[in-house]
């Protein structure tokens, strides 16, 4: 973790985010039911859920931090470790595998000098494998942050990387 990132994560949730979380828990049938939504709000602001933030959210939801951590670590889209500015979710499921997904993965690893699961040295990208993205008729497929891409080949991958500053 770079020092910049460390300063960033040690900042508390702050009144606005705490208020947003309180609002969604009020709409939920039981407070804990809002925990995934709450963790996603934290992640939207801080990119991942640090231990400090986890404890704060747990208190707001009347859960123990251990309980909330048990939930947080169960789900694929909740990040408990720092990630880069952009998260690449590359599909590694069967239709993409048939259509050259392994080549797409090798190409990305080479361009970014990372292995799957790692973040680039400049903190720009984290490359994560993901299960089928429901874009199998345009395999191989991936998401960069919230955008879905299909029909990937080397040129298209390079182009997408270039455009994600």
């Amino acid at each position: 973790m770079s020092t910049v990132e460390q300063d960033f994560v040690q900042e508390p949730l702050g009144p606005r985010l705490r208020h947003e979380i309180a609002t969604i828990t009020r709409h939920a049938e039981h407070k804990r039911a809002a925990c995934i939504d709450a963790l996603k709000l934290v992640q939207k602001r801080f990119r991942f859920v640090s231990d400090g933030h986890l404890a704060e959210v747990a208190a707001l939801l009347e859960m123990t931090p251990a309980e909330l951590d048990g939930v947080a670590t169960f789900y694929n889209l909740i990040f408990r470790r720092p990630v880069g500015r952009h998260v690449i979710l590359l599909c590694d499921s069967v239709a993409c595998w048939v259509m050259g997904g392994a080549a797409a993965c090798a190409h990305l690893c080479e361009r970014l000098s990372v292995k799957p699961g790692e973040t680039t040295a400049d903190g720009r990208f984290t490359l994560l494998p993901i299960v089928c993205l429901g874009h199998c008729d345009h395999a191989p497929a991936m998401m960069v942050d919230e955008d879905l891409y299909g029909d990937l080949d080397a040129a298209r991958l390079d182009d997408i990387l270039r455009r994600s500053r």
């Binding site: 963790l39 169960f74 694929n76 499921s93 239709a95 595998w97 048939v98 008729d137 345009h138």
Partner: protein, 431 residues
């Protein structure tokens, strides 16, 4: 011309109709009609239509709704939950409906909720479906503004709230009882049955879980009747189906076709057959949890009973094609990696067995397999089969493996005897 009630209102540009546009093409007429019927009459119509669940298991929708205790038997809250988790590898049909015709789903939710007298509905969407989540949320707000959702819908006295929930992401959330745990803010672990979820589901209350495609079938059935719906089908079950094909075919995609359309028609007419230079070795007919079908059986009708008769299952009806340029053992390793990773870890055979299967397949693929490994794999197939584990994830994982061991026996043996993968050259290849 074949009728396509699921996709009829989808626009050429793929953008969803807003509520006004949807009303203009006849949308929400089914809700108006349904609210004047009794819940029993709706259920009876759905039963006569022979609509079977499109989530994979093919349960009769009418019977599922009927199992919920009547209001005078049990006063408390009950739920209708839409399973929009779509994480079965190779499946992409629900995303199309969610993104392109969200109002039809909402209309189906209202009718389904009225039929079981549920006042709360959750649409459980996988978190990666960002566009679907956006469009659904907007559609719910629009429907609310028009009085189709909310208090006293169209003066009927029936009230319904719809929540759209974005999942934290895990395949097991799609299992109906695990979905309850996920919605309650817990780790998504399946639950023991009995009690049946129709009696005790979300928060211990009567609950029905239905797939997206299933509920999208409901408004047309109510509007035009069970007989019309039955007539659309080429099989004993009613209606149409969103069949899909991915892999090295000329035109991968999705088509709404009569239920029971033969596999070869889908593969060769709609998907255009194989691309130049590729041959079809086998297909997974309905996602990763279905057994391989080989070309000798491609005349099978794609309905629940017919596919079962040849030893596979319809699953999601979204077909993945394996061609001769890819290693069948590699493909099996890919599937079992998925299942091992997505196992929730609750019961021992699945938690320990699936990673073991993955390791054996990885070794065989790398040319480090032994003849005894095949016996071990066969042993796992029975050890993790139906009835041995807490939920259907593990039996689902064994379906392609069992059939792979049968159809690709010689490929397994070649890897072991030659101590190398015959497809080594194509492992990291784009084509």
């Amino acid at each position: 011309m074949i009728e396509t009630p699921l996709t009829a209102t989808i626009q050429p540009d793929g953008k969803p109709l807003d509520v006004t546009g949807y009303e203009r093409v006849g949308g929400y007429q089914a809700v108006r009609k349904a609210l004047k019927m009794t819940p029993e009459a709706i259920i009876s119509e759905i039963k006569s239509s022979k609509l079977r669940g499109r989530g994979g298991a093919g349960f009769q929708t009418g019977r599922k709704w009927e199992a919920v205790p009547k209001r005078d038997e049990a006063l408390f809250l009950r739920y209708l939950i839409v399973n929009a988790d779509e994480m079965e590898p190779g499946s992409f049909k629900d995303r199309l409906l969610l993104e392109k015709t969200p109002h039809q789903l909402i209309e189906g939710v209202i009718i389904g909720a009225f039929a079981i007298q549920a006042t709360l509905a959750y649409i459980f969407v996988r978190g990666e479906y960002v566009l679907a989540l956006e469009r659904l949320a907007r559609a719910v707000v629009e429907a609310q503004a028009r009085g189709y959702v909310g208090r006293d819908i169209l003066g009927s006295g029936f009230s319904l709230t719809i929540h759209v929930h974005a999942s934290g992401g895990r395949y097991i959330c799609g299992e109906a009882s695990a979905l309850f745990s996920a919605l309650e803010g817990r780790r998504a672990i399946p639950r023991a049955r009995p009690p049946r979820s129709a009696v005790s589901g979300l928060w211990g209350k009567p609950s029905v879980v239905n797939n997206v495609e299933t509920l999208c079938c409901v408004p047309p059935i109510i509007e035009r009747g069970a007989n019309w719906y039955l007539g659309l089908s080429r099989s004993v079950d009613g209606g149409t189906k969103l069949y899909g094909v991915s892999g090295r075919v000329k035109r991968p995609g999705l088509w709404e076709l009569p239920f029971g359309t033969p596999l070869n028609e889908i593969l060769f007419e709609h998907a255009g057959g194989m691309q130049e230079g590729y041959e079809c070795r086998a297909v997974l007919p309905g996602g990763a949890s279905t057994a391989f079908i080989v070309p000798e059986s491609f005349d099978v009708r794609m309905d629940f009973a017919s596919v079962q008769k040849i030893g596979s299952s319809l699953g999601t009806g979204n077909i993945v094609v394996l061609d001769q340029r890819r290693c069948p053992i590699g493909l099996l390793r890919n599937l079992e990696h998925f299942f091992a990773q997505e196992s929730c870890g609750w019961c021992t055979p699945c938690r320990d067995g699936l990673p073991w299967v993955e390791r054996i397949l990885t070794a065989i693929e790398a040319g480090e397999g032994k003849v005894e490994d095949l016996e071990l794999l066969i042993h796992h197939v029975s050890f993790l089969g139906p009835g041995c584990t807490f939920c259907d994830l593990a039996p689902g994982a064994m379906a392609p493996l069992a059939s792979g061991l049968k159809h690709f026996r010689s490929e397994f043996e070649r890897h072991i005897n030659e101590k190398a993968c015959p497809w080594h050259d194509t492992k990291d290849a784009w084509t």
